[in-house]
Symmetry: C2
């Protein structure tokens, strides 16, 4: 298996974190997304949507969208909760992550790291991002993990950009249950950090 990604991308980190949990070997190909690496003719031939992460199977087939990749890799492992309703709740949080969480929290981080000319967008993004963190805080007040009795792909998906939210100007100490959950995530015995360079087999 080959993973096309970028070390600064939380969406790519989700996949690397799950692959580490699962102990699955893979080849890592770094794509310079912030400088147009996903828009080259070569990369667009692999993914016409021009996005990373992209997973390529041994037979050449490709799969895009971080959360779809997570579901594909985690199927029949403890990282997808059992039962139709819990599976659907897992997807609910992952769709919410891509619609309400990532477009605020990841984009604020991107602007702070790479696009200072867009800093005028930050107040709105901070308001939206805090609303998303409040929804997480309310949920984690009652339960240690998003769905089921242990960390699942829903937690992995939400952890990726939450644990680096400070890079975009968010203060997680305002959300103590989110902070405690984030610390629990980092205690996983197969945890890897976002900045760890993947070792190809």
């Amino acid at each position: 298996m080959k993973l096309y990604g970028n070390l600064n991308s939380g969406n790519c980190y989700k996949v690397r974190l799950l692959l580490s949990y699962l102990g699955v070997p893979y080849e890592y190909v770094d794509i310079d997304a912030p400088h147009g690496g996903t828009q080259t003719p070569e990369f667009l031939a692999l993914n016409p949507a021009g996005q990373i992460p992209l997973l390529q199977l041994g037979d050449g087939r490709t799969l895009a969208e971080s959360n779809a990749i997570l579901m594909f890799l985690a199927e029949d492992t403890p990282y997808v909760p059992i039962g139709a309703f819990d599976r659907a709740k897992t997807l609910q949080w992952m769709f919410w992550e891509q619609y309400r969480h990532e477009p605020a929290i990841a984009v604020a981080r991107f602007i702070c790291c790479y696009a200072p000319d867009r800093e005028g967008e930050l107040p709105t993004l901070h308001e939206k991002g805090k609303r998303a963190l409040s929804v997480m805080e309310g949920h984690l007040r009652d339960t240690p993990w998003f769905v089921g009795s242990g960390p699942s792909v829903a937690d992995i998906s939400l952890y990726a950009y939450t644990h680096v939210a400070a890079d975009g100007g968010f203060d997680l100490s305002d959300f103590p249950h989110v902070q405690a959950w984030s610390a629990r995530m980092a205690e996983h015995p197969r945890h890897v950090a976002m900045t760890d360079i993947p070792h190809s087999p």
Copy 2:
């Protein structure tokens, strides 16, 4: 089963369309989302994220996020393709819909219908939306449906806002394969229109 929705929302229409395909009876509760209906204390108690559609099961449990609801309802029906990779590809298109398609095409429609004061956002949304329609056009050039050999939840998800894209200022005749696919979708024997008022059982 109870569906909280709004007749102008494509995200809610997705669920109504699938329920019609499946012939599943349900109670419909209209929520006046454009005028704050999802932000009342009563609705936030049902869905703290303050969004429709929301599905409530007979036992009171709730499920949010249109595409998670689609996967839940379509499980073990012909509307979820068989096989791990095709299932993942279905999810890929549904995550892409929420990340790249809906935030451009649905938001442009919302501005044209309800928020003329935000019309300054339209040029950027039109550029993003056309890029999304081009990705669909490229895919549909080679295959009649998004995944597998018939319409699936991926098609339902993408159809909802595509077939009313003109409301937001898009011209589908620039995308002939998308237009032909949209016409195929409307030929389903259990098709319902977005404006059809659901009949409660």
